[in-house]
């Protein structure tokens, strides 16, 4: 599966010549299908691209819970999709109602204490996850949905900064350049050079891959 927009667009352009309306002979044997939109019409699809979410929260207790939510979102890895966070919250509440059904099918039987405490804990976790999923959006879709300051603390940003600094230091040492600014000229003119350099130096393949993706996208 193509990982970046640029790579995906290039792949599509290669596979589907312009103006070819049949376009069903794919190189790797897959039959390409036209996308069928069942619930959203032309006008709706155009409106989707323009849509911007806006919300006003005048809640009383939310400011007191914010520090907790900020800590929790740090615990969730950046590769987790925000919808997974939301849906797992829903699953917890479904579990809570399943507990209620098992112990009190007509809502009139006394519950064991641990079930009551489990109810409270599950609702609290659901509330936390529900509040955290918006923060996870900003974290996972960095940098398009994040502010500059929060972007700097993002793991993907750190993953870029650290190897870039390493490669600059390597360049400076090898060429005997006067400083990192002199060395960075190479990167400006030849992005592949910095990628090759990074691939040879960086021990972590994940970092190399993310850096290569950025180079392919034209970000570096």
């Amino acid at each position: 599966m193509p990982r970046t927009r640029a790579a995906a667009a290039a792949a599509t352009a290669a596979a589907v010549p312009k103006g070819d309306s049949k376009a069903n002979g794919h190189a790797n044997g897959h039959t390409q299908q036209a996308i069928r939109y069942r619930t959203i019409g032309h006008r709706g699809r155009a409106a989707l691209l323009r849509y911007k979410y806006s919300a006003v929260d005048r809640s009383i207790i939310a400011p007191y819970l914010q520090p907790l939510w900020t800590r929790v979102v740090d615990l969730i890895p950046a590769w987790v999709a925000p919808n997974c966070v939301t849906t797992s919250g829903l699953a917890l509440v479904v579990l809570s109602s399943a507990l209620a059904y098992l112990h009190s099918p007509h809502l009139d039987a006394p519950l064991p204490t641990w079930v009551l405490l489990a109810h409270a804990a599950l609702v609290f976790t659901y509330q936390t996850l529900d509040a955290v999923d918006g923060k996870q959006v900003r974290k996972a879709f960095w940098p398009t949905h994040a502010s500059f300051l929060s972007a700097l603390t993002h793991p993907r940003c750190r993953a870029l900064l650290v190897p870039a600094l390493i490669s600059l230091a390597q360049q400076a040492r090898r060429t005997g350049s006067s400083g990192p600014l002199g060395a960075s000229r190479f990167h400006l003119y030849d992005p592949n050079r910095s990628r090759r350099l990074l691939c040879s130096q960086c021990p972590n393949p994940a970092l190399t891959r993310s850096f290569s993706a950025c180079v392919a996208r034209g970000a570096v």
């Binding site: 599509t12 589907v16 006008r43 919300a55 919808n83 609702v123």
Partner: protein, 308 residues
């Protein structure tokens, strides 16, 4: 992120129903008669519906000072923690207290009644604010108030059917099968809210109300069946088995909701070139349309195992 909003809010709509079971079992709602759990369900869904309807008209999701996802849920887990500490029988098993109202009306009140009634009162206060803001925004945008209120009619119909069915039911569906009954109605509620949110996201308003009523199709049958047993039949027997209707409504509502959710997820993710449950990207549908010059693009992703 856009599909995130839809996913988040429809999950919340489902949670309104599932939380009703947890709270209902905590406050022993079944002891005080079958209507208490219906009141608890209304306390969850009613302000949610009004807030969504307000967002539909104003374009801004407004959470007032006392709102469901923050204060409402906090109240729930406080209730459950206090119940666990004090003891369920001592707190919610008390009563019933007999209260005599003017006009020689006798009420037997349980703690769960007080709990549900105070929730209804808070929902009423919440509703007034949402109603005022929504109607003002509708008027400002040149929509008639009648049309704005008509968008609330499916929810009103849902609530009316729920109350009528449980009041007239010869087998007391809300008392004997509260889970199945409210699960069906909860799915119908989530479907209504998902339709409303999608119409707001896509700015598509034609045939919205008709589409919303479609999910309520089994309810007139069920209410008519109960009314027949109550008012017409000499032996008090319904025409169709109520249990079967209950399950039919639940399965029908779940099917409609799941089908709609899957279709919408497919449409939005394909159009924007994203996935619902992963951060990977694919060629967006709008880009394919531009490149191919056709109204319907050609699907760019080749990984057939990954639909969402």
């Amino acid at each position: 992120m856009l599909p995130g909003e839809l996913c988040d809010h429809t999950c919340d709509a489902l949670v309104c129903t599932f939380e009703t079971f947890a709270v209902g079992s905590t406050v022993l709602a079944g002891l005080g008669g079958s209507h208490t759990v219906l009141a608890l369900w209304l306390v969850g869904t009613w302000p949610f519906c009004m807030a969504t309807w307000r967002m539909y008209h104003t374009g801004v999701m407004t959470l007032p000072e006392f709102n469901g996802p923050n204060e409402g849920l906090a109240l729930l887990y406080l209730t459950q923690t206090v119940t666990a500490c004090v003891g369920q029988a001592a707190l919610w098993g008390a009563g019933p207290w007999h209260v005599r109202l003017p006009g020689d009306v006798q009420l037997s009140v349980r703690p769960a009644h007080v709990y549900a009634a105070s929730g209804i009162a808070m929902a009423l206060v919440d509703t007034l604010g949402h109603l005022y803001a929504g109607l003002s925004a509708a008027k400002a945008q040149g929509r008639t108030r009648r049309r704005a209120m008509a968008q609330l009619s499916p929810y009103m119909g849902l609530v009316a059917c729920l109350l009528a069915w449980s009041a007239w039911s010869p087998t007391d569906v809300a008392g004997t099968q509260p889970y199945v009954l409210l699960l069906g109605f909860g799915m119908q509620f989530a479907y209504l809210m998902a339709r409303l949110i999608l119409a707001h996201l896509c700015d598509e308003h034609t045939r919205l109300i008709r589409a919303m009523w479609r999910v309520l199709v089994p309810l007139p049958l069920a209410v008519g069946n109960a009314a027949y047993a109550r008012f017409v039949a000499a032996d008090g027997q319904p025409l169709v088995d109520e249990n079967a209707l209950l399950w039919f409504n639940c399965v029908y509502a779940t099917f409609m909701y799941v089908r709609f959710a899957m279709n919408v997820t497919h449409d939005i993710t394909a159009w924007l070139g994203i996935y619902c449950f992963s951060l990977h990207r694919r060629t967006p549908g709008w880009k394919l349309e531009q490149e191919n010059g056709t109204a319907n693009g050609v699907n760019g992703h080749t990984d057939k195992s990954k639909r969402f």
